[in-house]
């Protein structure tokens, strides 16, 4: 960012401001030569085909891989070779109206050019102020968005300066930084003649829009580069696999297939029949196969298990769910089980695709490197989340049926049974996940428990599920003495905690959340209460999964960073769910009385009647 500010200051000081924004389309060729796509470059700490680099850069700048439907490789080439034209093109999208207003940008446009933003005083002033600040400071939402824009500008700046495409091997250290073709740096040997010739030909063909010569030049360039000696170069096969992965986009395909499977399961549940079941089963197996293959390829590309960040963990969540669909169908479980599992899989994969998460294979922090625990811990935790998500869905279904069709007792009992089974499995998996996480922590940080926010929230969710499983064992309200003692204990803890929290503005309303939650989890009885608890406890899981990184943003586990949007989605969805549960409880209470919501049914309290 520093360099960019310097460059902008220099360009402003030398009296050559960039031209005004021009939004006329810049013509491109329509087909990218495959040889060009496959050129090996070094980028972001690994070697990759030019295709991946182009996708990464175009996605990083514009927010989408296929900007205006254009091929990312051609676009990257255009930015590099015709930087003057693209400087004025509106590439950077600033969707937030508030942000545009805050920065004093025109409110009637969404996208802005490099020249416009780099010459925009309020933005540069803010960025320079942030730059001046020292130390690890938490950014406020405005600052983190400014930071994001500055990162895009910085990327573009390096592309325009021709510094991004690095296909020339450097040696003798296999880890050395590779060179660019035509922007020699200090210590860079002369670019071999064949490479320069092919590169110049490629540039000429590109600028004159000559597809045939471009194809020839791309082939020559690739051949010339491949002929150069290199201390390390990934295998041809490895590059082909990565190109295949880029082209197939298995996870986008995956959620579509799983969504189809979901629809078919809905059909099968509504109109049971052999053919509907079979079609749903085929689609489910298809989704599972696509996902498994996608994960395997990604594992191969990264050279490690793809379980290092939020995007990759969502893939595992979906994979676990799709495995569950297939298993449940194979074991001839209720169609409802397969339906909910398909829903979990499709939704989590869909979220991975549409949320502003980074989908590219990145280098990982040393603590994640080279450990068997990541392979055990992350998939285990994701399996737990998948199962608990199923429990949450079934709990909703159970509550809905209880409120809207309270007479369908057999269905309610079946749902309650399935719900309980998921709860047990999910809680066990969550416990195992915490235990393996604790063992991993012991082997990398030297302590098995450190009260890190992620650890703490995972334990909070686990304790909540344990409470659900235990509270349902008591069918009657505890004796008045117990309740009184419990109330005293609760008030004592509340007083102590509130004393500590008095200085935290954001936590002023903590007792209004904590007391009803404690009461619901400990005093309420009966199947509806159990289902409601399960629905709410899942939000504790969500808090552990995303909230700690995105809402609290502290602690050792904050390796991945996101934007404030995720926290907003979470809060919105959580509130909506709370309202839904409240509404269902209200309907049930109106129809059958408050006892039906908060107490066990009469026949349960009277075992002989049921025996």
């Amino acid at each position: 960012m520093n360099r960019l500010i310097c460059a902008v200051v220099v360009s402003l000081a030398s009296g050559q401001p960039d031209g005004p924004a021009a939004s006329e389309p810049v013509l491109l060729l329509d087909r990218c030569p495959e040889a060009l796509r496959a050129v090996v470059v070094q980028h972001d700490g690994r070697w990759m085909p030019l295709d991946t680099l182009a996708r990464d850069v175009v996605h990083g700048v514009t927010g989408t891989t296929r900007f205006q439907g254009r091929d990312p490789v051609l676009l990257l080439l255009a930015w590099t070779l015709e930087s003057d034209r693209w400087r004025a093109a509106p590439l950077i999208r600033i969707a937030s109206v508030e942000l545009r207003r805050e920065l004093g940008l025109p409110s009637d446009r969404l996208a802005f050019s490099f020249a416009e933003l780099a010459g925009h005083q309020p933005l540069m002033k803010l960025a320079a102020e942030m730059e001046r600040r020292q130390g690890p400071v938490r950014l406020n939402p405005l600052e983190s968005k400014v930071n994001d824009i500055m990162e895009r500008l910085e990327t573009l700046h390096r592309v325009f300066a021709g510094e991004v495409i690095r296909p020339l091997p450097a040696g003798p250290d296999p880890q050395a930084r590779w060179w660019t073709v035509d922007r020699p740096e200090q210590g860079q040997p002369r670019t071999p003649e064949a490479v320069t010739r092919a590169w110049d030909l490629l540039a000429a063909a590109f600028l004159s829009r000559d597809q045939a010569i471009l194809d020839t030049a791309a082939g020559e360039l690739k051949a010339a580069l491949d002929a150069l000696p290199a201390p390390f170069r990934p295998s041809e096969r490895q590059m082909r696999i990565e190109l295949l992965y880029n082209r197939l986009q298995p996870f986008r395909t995956g959620w579509i297939v799983l969504a189809v499977a979901l629809l078919l399961w809905v059909v099968a549940a509504a109109r049971p029949g052999r053919s509907a079941d079979a079609a749903a089963m085929v689609a489910s197996v298809g989704g599972f196969v696509v996902l498994t293959a996608g994960l395997a390829i990604r594992w191969r590309i990264a050279g490690r298990i793809p379980a290092a960040n939020m995007y990759e963990s969502l893939l595992f969540l979906a994979w676990g769910a799709s495995l569950f669909v297939v298993l449940a169908a194979a074991l001839r479980q209720n169609r409802f089980v397969s339906l909910t599992a398909a829903l979990v899989g499709a939704v989590s994969l869909f979220l991975a695709d549409v949320l502003p998460l980074d989908p590219f294979v990145r280098p990982i922090a040393p603590v994640l490197m080279d450990t068997v625990w990541m392979t055990i811990h992350v998939p285990g935790i994701m399996a737990a989340y998948a199962v608990l998500a199923l429990a949450m869905l079934i709990a909703h279904a159970q509550m809905a049926v209880m409120a809207l069709a309270p007479d369908r007792e057999r269905l309610i009992a079946a749902l309650a049974e399935a719900h309980l089974r998921y709860l047990r499995v999910g809680t066990l998996l969550l416990g195992a996940g915490i235990v393996t996480g604790s063992m991993w922590a012991a082997s990398s940080w030297g302590r098995y428990w450190g009260w890190d926010p992620k650890e703490v929230w995972s334990l909070i969710a686990f304790l909540a599920y344990l409470t659900i499983l235990h509270a349902r064992l008591d069918h009657r309200l505890p004796p008045a003495g117990y309740l009184a003692a419990g109330a005293v204990l609760t008030l004592a803890v509340l007083a102590v905690v509130q004393g500590r929290l008095s200085e935290v503005e954001a936590a002023r309303h903590w007792p209004f959340v904590a007391v009803p939650a404690v009461a619901l989890f400990t005093v309420a009885r009966g199947p509806f209460a159990t289902a409601a608890r399960s629905a709410l406890a899942f939000w504790l899981v969500m808090m552990t999964y995303v909230g700690v990184n995105f809402v609290l943003g502290t602690g050792l586990h904050s390796y991945g960073f996101g934007t404030g949007a995720v926290a907003r989605y979470l809060l919105g969805l959580g509130s909506a769910d709370l309202l839904l549960v409240g509404a269902l409880a209200g309907i049930l209470a109106a129809r059958r009385g408050v006892r039906a919501v908060l107490a066990c049914p009469q026949q349960v309290l009277d075992p002989p009647a049921r025996a």
Binding site: D44, G45, G135, A176, R177, F232, P363, P366, V367, D370, A413, A416, A418, L420, R421, L428, G431, V435, S438, A442, S443, S444, W445, G446, R447, W451, V456, W457, L459, I460, L463, A464, T467, H470, R472, L473, D474, H475, P478, G481, Y482, A485, G486, T490, V493, V497, R500, L501, E503, V504, A507, W510, A514, V518, F521, T522, P527, L552, Q603, R610
Partner: protein, 587 residues
């Protein structure tokens, strides 16, 4: 005894268990929010490490134990019930062992060095007298509880021994300097404020000192000679080329001429029979360690003239410094001749800092700015008024002044703590003369005098001997190819153990600790490595007898839950448990 039995059944109840789980969960949720505001250390003190939190966990342990003792689970579920709940107790026991007995600390080594001591994560206050260590008081993590030390165990006959106690621990501290009015002092001080756009910084400057903490060096000079003042203000010019004036006092006669005149010829001093000649003029004289004066260049920082006094007792040479008129007296040279010399350098040659605050004999203040091109600008100052400077957008003013000033340094708490905090201890001292308060910052010893006795207070970390020697051979940061992103941190260490013998070299990296003598060594941080300096590597070290116990508890807990789950599967339908097993109700 119905009360006792209902108390014991309450302690064993599922209701209490559920309540405790939820209260713990609610408190922990509050703690994570508190942590974002107050920092991890404060969260540890206020929540996770607090007595009430430990009390809740202990109550949970009692609840589990009582539940186990009086369990009424059906035989089919007994195994799972017993294994799971007993294992949770084992986990809690392991935690207690870790809390009570484990040692956690760090060793920080530069490449090629070694140590046999471990710096433990346990702070202590050491009280030293001139001859011995009087006390080492361990401070519990994040302690706020008072710890008292008797400084003089065998106090005076009246029994009023001096006592020292820890009143409070400040998570982060900084030193603050305050200027106070003190009739005992004779030094004036000014608060000078510099404003640049919207930012301003203030600094206290004592007379005849300079300070550059505000960015630009600012000096405060008192001039007691009206004519020198006039010269500095540019009101009296002896000529633009003159280096200044040399004033010679001899036998109640005063001769004052431009330096250049003394250089061209010896000037006679009235009827004394002596004459004065200037041999050399140096705009920037440098006094070497051998006390020889040398030419320090053109920068007019320390103008000086070398003077030869000719007379009946033969020629004598002497250096006269414009800025240090008392130089000879200061350095103990005897005054052999009844001649006093004073060199008043001309204004253009005398600035030592770009900004000088000048105060003449009439106490009026002026700012004298010297730019890089040696242009001088004078601005009269009045307290509280900002004046422009030659530098764009920079304004200066004297905001406060104290005639008899004393500098007082105090230590203040910083809230919330910064990322690299410097903790401090606020101690209260009870002496026969009355109570006193003293603050000690970590690693910065303070001195304490009580009557004739002298003490040194050291706030530091406890160190324990490892019993063996750890040497860092090499530290390496491995990066991802072509980038500066770290891929691995590796310390190659060698352990020399007098009992178990020398160990082969091992590499410690993230996720790959080394073990020796019950200690585990983990890669935790590094420094250095730039500008040819060697790397330093920080290894965190732990010795934890509770860890295997807790891990055994983990395994038991998961195994118990698994048994329970599989049993249920084999026993068949379970949804009806909400109805069918009231026997579990009070377990």
């Amino acid at each position: 005894m119905p009360l006792l039995s209902s108390l014991s059944s309450f302690l064993a109840s599922t209701f209490l268990g559920c309540l405790l789980l939820m209260l713990l969960a609610a408190a922990m949720a509050a703690a994570t929010v508190y942590e974002t505001v107050a920092g991890s250390e404060a969260a540890m003190t206020a929540f996770y490490g607090s007595p009430w939190f430990a009390g809740l966990l202990a109550l949970l342990g009692i609840n589990l134990a009582a539940g186990l003792a009086g369990h009424r689970a059906s035989p089919a579920r007994r195994t799972a019930f017993l294994v799971t709940h007993a294992s949770v107790i084992v986990v809690l026991l392991g935690a207690v062992m870790t809390w009570g007995w484990s040692i956690r600390g760090q060793i920080t080594l530069a490449e090629g060095t070694s140590t046999d001591r471990l710096v433990v994560d346990q702070e202590l206050l050491r009280v030293e007298s001139e001859t011995a260590v009087i006390a080492e008081v361990p401070l519990p993590a994040g302690a706020s509880r008072a710890r008292t030390v008797d400084l003089i165990p065998s106090g005076p006959p009246d029994g009023s021994g001096s006592r020292l106690s820890v009143a409070r621990r400040l998570a982060d501290s900084r030193t603050v300097e305050r200027v106070l009015q003190d009739p005992a002092s004779s030094r004036p001080a000014l608060e000078v404020t510099l404003e640049h756009r919207e930012e301003s910084s203030s600094v206290w400057i004592f007379a005849d000192e300079a300070d550059s903490s505000g960015g630009l060096p600012v000096a405060y000079r008192r001039i007691d000679d009206q004519r020198e003042m006039a010269r500095l203000l540019g009101e009296d010019t002896t000529g633009p080329t003159s280096a200044g004036v040399l004033r010679v006092e001899c036998d109640e006669q005063t001769v004052e001429r431009a330096v250049e005149e003394y250089m061209s010829a010896a000037i006679p001093l009235g009827r004394s029979g002596r004459a004065v000649k200037v041999l050399r003029y140096l705009p920037h004289a440098v006094v070497g360690e051998d006390r020889q004066v040398a030419d320090g260049g053109d920068g007019p920082a320390n103008p000086a003239v070398e003077v030869e006094i000719l007379g009946p007792d033969g020629p004598t040479r002497r250096w006269v410094f414009a800025r240090f008129p008392e130089f000879d007296a200061m350095h103990g040279r005897e005054e052999r001749l009844p001649v006093r010399l004073r060199f008043i350098a001309s204004p253009t040659t005398a600035p030592s800092t770009p900004i000088e605050i000048l105060q003449g004999p009439d106490k009026r203040l002026f700012a004298r700015f010297t730019t890089g091109t040696r242009e001088v600008r004078i601005e009269p100052l009045a307290e509280g008024r900002m004046v422009p400077t030659p530098w764009p957008e920079l304004r200066l003013g004297v905001t406060r002044s104290v005639e008899q000033a004393r500098l007082e340094t105090s230590i203040e708490e910083v809230r919330p703590p910064r990322p690299d905090p410097v903790p401090a201890l606020r101690l209260s001292v009870t002496t026969p003369q009355g109570p006193r308060e003293i603050t000690v910052r970590k690693y910065a010893p303070e001195h304490l005098d009580i009557g004739p006795r002298h003490y040194r207070l050291v706030y530091t970390d406890r160190q324990v001997p490892l019993g063996f020697n750890v040497a860092l051979r090499q530290f390496q940061v491995r990066t991802y190819p072509g980038s500066s992103r770290p891929r691995a941190f590796e310390s190659r260490i060698a352990i020399a153990d007098p009992i178990r013998g020398d160990q082969p070299e091992v590499v410690v990296s993230m996720n790959h600790p080394a073990e020796h003598g019950g200690y585990s060594f983990f890669q935790s941080g590094y420094g250095g490595g730039q500008d040819g300096r060697p790397f330093t590597s920080t290894l965190s070290v732990s010795w934890d007898p509770g860890r295997p116990v807790a891990f055994a508890g983990y395994l038991g807990m998961i195994a118990g839950m698994l048994i329970g789950l599989l049993r249920r599967q084999t026993l068949g339908s379970t949804a009806s448990t909400e109805a069918a097993s009231p026997a579990d109700g009070r377990s």
